[in-house]
Symmetry: C2
Subunit: 383 residues, 2 copies
Amino acid sequence: MSLAGPLNGLLVLDLTRVLAGPYCTMVLADLGARVIKIETPGTGDDSRAYGPYINGKSAYFMSINRGKESLALDLKAPPDRAIFERLLERADILVENYRAGTMERLGYGFDTLHPRYPRLIYAACSGFGHTGPLHARPAYDMVVQGMGGVMSLTGHPGGPPTRVGTSIGDITAGLFTAIGVNAALYRRTLSGQGSKIDVGMLDCQLAILENALARHFATGEIPGPLGARHPTITPFQSFETRDGHIIIAAGNDALFQKLCAALDMANLATDPRFIGNQKRNQNVDALSQLMETRLKTGTTRAWLDILEPAGIPCGPINNVANVLAEPHVAARNMIVETKDPVAGSVHMAGNPIKLSDYADPHERAPAPELDANRAAILRELGL
Amino acid sequence: MSLAGPLNGLLVLDLTRVLAGPYCTMVLADLGARVIKIETPGTGDDSRAYGPYINGKSAYFMSINRGKESLALDLKAPPDRAIFERLLERADILVENYRAGTMERLGYGFDTLHPRYPRLIYAACSGFGHTGPLHARPAYDMVVQGMGGVMSLTGHPGGPPTRVGTSIGDITAGLFTAIGVNAALYRRTLSGQGSKIDVGMLDCQLAILENALARHFATGEIPGPLGARHPTITPFQSFETRDGHIIIAAGNDALFQKLCAALDMANLATDPRFIGNQKRNQNVDALSQLMETRLKTGTTRAWLDILEPAGIPCGPINNVANVLAEPHVAARNMIVETKDPVAGSVHMAGNPIKLSDYADPHERAPAPELDANRAAILRELGL
C-alpha cells in the first residue's frame, strides 16, 4: 500500500543501491509513489550489509528504504528480463544509480527504452553524470565531497581535512534527482512523453558551493575553512559559554542592535568597528572576543533563555540525542516509526515536506526483505 | 524570457529573501518557470547587501537570483496590494520564506488565498515550519545546523564546533521545497487544485542525518564527529600523501581487494583484521596507519594515477580553484555565465539537473536590479 500523497498512482522501478538513488526513491515513496526496488538476487542492495543491525537487519538500510517493495531480478537472465520488461510497460519512472554505461550494456539505456516505453521517465543519478571525461568513473560520497570543494570549506583554518558529517554528496544528488523526476512528470502531463534526467553527484557539489563560488569569482580569493562561522555575515557563529557552546546568527543590523541590548553590551552597538555587516565582518575577531568574554559568564541554557525571547536567531549545538529530545521534532512528526516484522519497532527520520492535502502518518510501512514482494508482483503481472 | 524547460508557462511569485527560498526559486527558474521576485521597496532582498560586490552589485545575490524578474511592492500599501492580487490571479506558485504568521498578518495566508485562487500552489520555507512549539521563532542556516545535529557530526573528535562550510541548512530546505512544489504541480494537473507545502529548515536537517540516526536508534550510541572518515564504511576517508591528501572510498570487499593490489599491499587483503567491512571498521585505526604509511611515499597525483585506472573510487581534496580547473566541470556546463548590465560577465554554478528534452545553455539571464521589471509587468497586467 502506497502512502497517500500527490504521486499516488505512479509506479517507480528502483534500480538504485546504497544512498543517493535510494534517498531519491524514498522521497518519491514519501510523496505517495509506489516504489518497487529491483535488487540483485542473493545479496540485494549493498547497504543491507551495512551495520549496525537490529535482529540481523541493517538499521541504515531500513531507514532509507521504508515503504518500498522488493523484487530480486538478474537483469542478465532472460526470464528475469522478461519480468522486468513487463514492469517497464506499467512503470512511470525508472531510477538508477549505476555508473554511466551500465544500463546501456544491459540493453536498457534511455535511447533503447524511450522508443519502446515513450511515457517512461528515466532518472540516472551517478557519480559524475552520463557525459564528460569522468563519466565512467566510480564515486562515493566522500570522493565528491573532496573533489567538489565542500571539504576545502569545512573544518578549521590550518587543521586537518574534515568531512561533512552526513553524506551530503549522496543526499543532494538524491534531492536534485527527485526534483528532476517531478518536473518531468509535470511535463509529461502536457507532452505525453517521458524524458531522461541525468544528475551527477559532483555537479551537485558545485551547485551547493553558493557564496564560496561567488566570492571566488568576485575577488579571486580561494576560500578556506572558517571553523564555526559564516564567511560573510557577522556575528553568525558558535561561541563558547560557561558550559558549552551557543550559536548566534544575527544576520542584519536590526538583529545586531537587539543582540547588543540582550547581552547588555550597548557599547558594541555604537562601536564604529561594528556598524554595518561589512565592518563587523572585517572586525570579526575583535567582536567575537568581546562577545565570547560576556557569553562565558553564563550557561548555554541561560543565554538561550535571554536571547530567544528577544527574537535573536540562536540555538544550542545539539547531538543526536538532544535533537530527538526537542519537543518541536515530535510535534513536526520528524521521527516516524515502522513496525518491522524482523526488527520490531524501528524509528527513523520523517518527511520534511508537509502537504496540506495529505496526512503525515507517524507509522510507515517497513523496508522490505530481499525479494519479499515477488509473488504478489508476478501475480499482478499475470505471470 | 524564461529558460526552455519542463516548467515553461508557469508563473512563480517569489516573496523569498537571502538563501533557502531564493535557492528554491532559482531551481524552478532553471527548470523553465518564470519567477517574479517581489521585493521590499528601497532595500529589496537582504542579500543584495551581502559582499563582495562587482561594480556595486552583490556577487552572492547575483549567483542565486539569475534569470528572475524583480518587482518592488509594499504589501502593506493598498495600491501595491492591488498589483500583487492581480499577479496572484495569474500565478501558479507562490513561494515565501517569512517566519510563520507573517503572511497571515498581511492577509495572504494560505487559508485566505486558497478559496480565492484555488489553483495557486503555496510553498512556505521557514526556519521551523508552520506548526509546532518553535514555529514563530526566527532561524538562519547556522542555527539549524547547530540544533539539527549535523554540527555534532562534523569536525574532529575532541575538537571545537565545526560548521558545514556551505549553507546546507538553507540549501536542503530549498531543495525539499522545490520537490514539494513540483509534486503539487503534478497533482494539480489531476485535481485542478493547488495546495500548501510547509517545509521547515530544522526538519530538513533531521531528514539528512541518515546513518547517525540509524546508529543511534539501533545501539543507543550518540554519534560524534569523525574527522574525515565515514562512520561505518572502511576504508572510506582522507589519507595523507607525500604532498597533501587523497580521498579513497572502497565501499565493498571487491573494491578493497582491488585497492590492496593497486597499493601493492597484498598482505592487507588476507589479514584477518581486515576481512569484511565490519572487521575493517572495527580495526580502522590499524588499517589507516598501514595504508597511510604506504600512501605517504608518493604524491597525491601519483597515487591518483595508479588508483583511478584500477577502478578505485578516489579523488583529491580540491579547493574552489582546483574544482573549477577540472575539465569535467566545464564539460558538464556546471559553471554558467550571465552578462550583467551592471557587473559585466559574471560566472556562477549551473544547474545539475540535466534533461534530455532541453538545452543547458551556458549563458543565462542575469539577476535583476531592484524593481527592474515594474513597467513591463504593469503593462502586462493592463495597469
